[in-house]
């Protein structure tokens, strides 16, 4: 974990409201594990104090990149920043995905929207290629299909409006695929909470292991403030664990989707 002033190398629109940011971060980039994130301070945000968390999408040498969607003041301010300007980034943070061992499970990735960002490094570093299921509302929500394909992965696209790929939810082709067989397969998912919850249910139903990356609002990002907690099953009951520290990736089986009683 390092805190660095990182310089923007590129910050360009990908599709619609999605942007790709590349920064030079020599101490952070080489240490990133798939599924980890960076906690970013966006200087033009002044009266909004907090950092914003983003999955680390790709790394290349001394640089890493983010894939982000403009949803509010922070991401909008970020989208207006130009190469040469600097940000402060703390990273790599959190527990990422377990990269399959060589000859181990075949990964099935499930992504919704910017969830793709958390899964790219995993796809790249997995010794076995697998299938990535990508869902979104519309065509513009389907990101970096080509880049996953270039890694030799099979990409199955669904959109809710049918404008690209199959019409429907990302979980439909996943279920179809799991019906064909479950042995030696493992799910890795990142996306909106309802999707993650559906994936967890499917994993349980089919008895396949699943790791999911939770998206919880964060404050400190490093485990001190106890903002980002989720109820996690333990041997003796449950406890609140921190998405930023014990997560963001959790074994789907231990995540309690509601606080008990």
């Amino acid at each position: 974990m390092f805190e660095d002033t990182v310089t923007i190398l590129a910050n360009e629109r990908e599709t619609d409201a999605y942007f790709r940011l590349v920064v030079s971060a020599p101490r952070i980039a080489p240490r990133v594990q798939p599924g980890q994130f960076a906690h970013v301070r966006i200087p033009p945000l002044r009266e909004a104090l907090l950092r914003r968390p983003f999955s680390i999408f790709q790394v290349a040498g001394d640089t890493f990149s983010l894939l982000y969607k403009t949803v509010g003041k922070g991401t909008e301010a970020l989208a207006r920043m130009r190469p040469g300007e600097t940000l402060s980034a703390i990273g790599p943070l959190g527990q990422g995905f377990t990269v399959p061992a060589p000859g181990g499970e075949t990964p099935l990735l499930v992504a919704g929207g910017y969830g793709m960002a958390a899964l790219y490094l995993l796809a790249q570093r997995s010794p076995q290629r697998g299938v990535v299921f990508v869902g979104g509302r519309r065509r513009v929500d389907i990101l970096c299909e080509r880049e996953f394909a270039e890694l030799g992965w099979e990409v199955r696209v669904t959109t809710e409006d049918g404008s690209h790929g199959e019409r429907g939810l990302v979980t439909q082709p996943l279920v179809t695929e799991l019906r064909r067989g479950t042995t030696g397969r493992k799910l890795f998912a990142c996306g909106p909470t309802p999707m993650l919850r559906a994936v967890a249910r499917i994993a349980e139903e089919f008895g396949v292991p699943a790791e999911i990356s939770l998206d919880q609002p964060m404050c400190c990002g490093v485990g001190v403030c106890l903002t980002c907690v989720v109820p996690i099953r333990t041997a003796t009951g449950w406890e609140y664990q921190r998405t930023c520290t014990e997560g963001p990736v959790f074994d789907a089986r231990v995540v309690l989707w509601e606080v008990p009683e």
Binding site: L49, I90, Q216, V224, C225, L226, T227, C228, V229, Y240
Partner: protein, 305 residues
């Protein structure tokens, strides 16, 4: 140049500490900054037993501030001693333990437990957390209860006691005096201020706990006034806090009468803040030709006469 300050019987190597609840148990930030450069490490509030805390969302960002309703999640005394003390006791700077309870007896019992622990720098009595139903602010907004809590802890331990006052009172002076008279070695001012935010799309409060406590730069002018008032009321030293994010902010608190300061919310967005404050303070003293940080303490009051 002398930077050390004393909080009654506790001496700090420098006046820049961190605020309870914004620095975890120290260990979390140990990889980002050298804890031994701080004036003290102050840990998250501990009660006797483990606490789960409030439902989420627990924080919400507002203009130049933050509202939190963590609800004092924590491992309890035993969990703290088991999990965090082995690390904390290796630090060369004082460790201040923020404690609370739901009854007088619990406060005293927690104080007694830490009295038995070798190496604790001081206990900070949190009588001012707005985010829990029993205890917390309840003790901090009633002068008589406040005096009783402080006195009970005083009887339970010989450790230096710092009473953390609530800002949510008409005048802080009587509370400051009550704490001093009941045996507090120092005061910490201020805790968060009761506040809330509403999501207009859902018409629901933004915090799981409905209301929370406001912190960050937005409260600095309020905190400064409370320190100013308390300095006039008591002789015991004050740790000033509330929105400090720069050396200039910290110096304002010292000039108003604080002997030390704590960086809170700023840690969340800039973990280097305490060290930046310390470096800036050093540079300021140098520029002003001062040789002792204590020359700043209360200087704005003395100057007005």
């Amino acid at each position: 140049m002398n930077l050390s300050v004393s909080l009654g019987r506790l001496t700090l190597p420098n006046p820049v500490t961190v605020a309870s609840g914004t620095f975890g148990y120290g260990v979390e930030y140990a990889r980002l900054l050298d804890l031994n450069q701080l004036g003290a490490v102050v840990v998250k509030g501990i009660r006797l037993t483990p606490v789960r805390g409030n439902p989420t969302p627990r924080t919400v960002e507002v203009a130049s501030g933050l509202i939190n309703a963590i609800g004092l999640q924590g491992p309890g005394v035993d969990g703290f001693i088991e999990k965090y003390w082995p690390f904390l006791k290796t630090l060369r700077v004082p460790v201040i333990i923020n404690i609370w309870g739901t009854t007088l007896e619990e406060y005293a019992e927690v104080a007694r437990r830490f009295d038995a622990l070798e190496g604790v720098g001081a206990l900070e009595l949190n009588v001012s957390c707005p985010n829990i139903k029993a205890g917390g602010a309840h003790f901090g907004t009633d002068c008589r209860l406040l005096a009783e809590v402080v006195a009970a802890c005083r009887r339970a331990t010989r450790l230096p006691l710092i009473t953390k006052l609530s800002p949510n009172v008409v005048h802080i002076a009587p509370y400051a005096r009550a704490a001093a008279e009941a045996g507090s070695d120092a005061l910490a001012i201020m805790n968060s201020y009761p506040a809330m935010a509403i999501d207009i799309e859902t018409a629901r409060p933004r915090l799981g706990n409905v209301t929370g406590g406001l912190t960050g730069p937005c409260i600095k002018p309020i905190a400064l006034k409370l320190v100013w008032d308390a300095y006039q009321a008591v002789k015991i030293p004050i740790i000033g806090m509330g929105g400090i994010q720069s050396a200039a902010d910290a110096i304002e608190f010292l000039l108003a009468g604080a002997s030390a300061v704590a960086v809170g919310t700023a840690n969340f967005y800039e973990p280097q803040t305490p060290l930046q404050v310390l470096a800036g303070l050093r540079a300021f003293l140098e520029r002003k030709g001062l040789t002792d940080v204590r020359q700043l303490v209360g200087a704005a009051q003395h100057q007005l006469g």
